[in-house]
């Protein structure tokens, strides 16, 4: 028997790692992977809560998250390719035209 809060804490740590990755990584692709990491952390918490409440809908939600993540990955990577094609860099610090 493992306390479910352990699972949740693990999920939280993964999410935090994702956030940290977003903050410190410069490569767009890696930043994007950090987002996936966050989503994975959330998935774990979904499954844990599904076990907590004995409700399968939690697991169904993981499925939805995955679908959205896959769609997001497809579009995101396409955007990255487009960005790379025009700016010839993957460094997120240099892709900062979105300002006043």
């Amino acid at each position: 028997m493992v306390p479910l809060s352990y699972y949740l804490v693990l999920s939280g740590i993964l999410f935090a790692c994702g956030v940290a990755g977003f903050l410190i990584k410069r490569n767009i692709i890696t930043v994007f992977m950090s987002i996936e990491l966050m989503l994975n952390g959330v998935n774990l918490s979904f499954v844990a809560f599904a076990a907590r409440w004995q409700q399968l809908s939690g697991q169904v939600f993981v499925f939805f998250v995955m679908v959205v993540a896959a769609a997001e990955a497809a579009v995101g990577l396409a955007i990255i390719i487009a960005v790379f094609r025009t700016r010839e860099t993957l460094n997120i610090d240099q892709v900062n035209l979105l300002k006043l």
């Binding site: 493992v2 004995q54 487009a82």
Partner: protein, 173 residues
């Protein structure tokens, strides 16, 4: 006990993979660490009984999404990360903020959450049950998601396609 050991082992692998993702400077290493994280997470799902989710996790995430990442890294020939310091805010405010949020959540979870505990396979997620939920209770969201995916496919194709001007010039060559 076995449960705890397995949980700890794969939990540690998870966290190690996640930290490795942060530490590694080459994107392909980060990507592979993420694959490891996902694989270990799949095992955690299995421990909670979500076998279908675990399988999908491996197939979709590790087998498709991450392959796509690796593919793009290879395609763009992404090299070592440059250490530019474009954002002071990220370090001065973001990191402490993220840390604080995590600590608060973990503290609250460990000290005050009565989430109970789970045995191995706490909630068996057979494909059949999940399918029944998915195609009855969640049919509408399911269809909406399918439309989302369709749009995403089209968006990806449009975005990643070469601009028409270069296409034409290539044909003329």
């Amino acid at each position: 006990m076995l449960h705890l050991i397995l949980f700890s082992v794969f939990g540690v692998i998870c966290v190690a993979g996640a930290v490795n993702l942060l530490v590694q400077r080459h994107p392909i290493n980060s990507a592979l660490s993420l694959v490891v994280v996902m694989g270990a997470l799949a095992v955690e799902f299995l421990l909670l009984g979500a076998e279908f989710v675990a399988a999908i996790q491996v197939i979709v995430y590790a087998g498709a999404v991450m392959v796509l990442f690796v593919f793009v890294i290879m395609l763009l020939n992404a090299g070592e990360e440059e250490r530019t310091s474009g954002s002071k805010v990220a370090y001065l405010i973001g990191i402490p903020g993220a840390l604080a949020g995590t600590v608060i959540v973990c503290w609250a979870l460990l000290q005050h959450a009565n989430a109970g505990s789970a045995a191995i396979g706490a909630l068996p997620g057979h494909p059949r049950d999940i399918a029944l939920l998915l195609f009855h209770q969640f049919l509408m969201p399911f269809e909406v998601t399918s439309i989302l995916v369709l749009i995403a496919i089209m968006g990806a194709v449009v975005l990643a396609a070469r601009p028409e001007s270069t296409q034409r010039s290539r044909k003329e060559d």
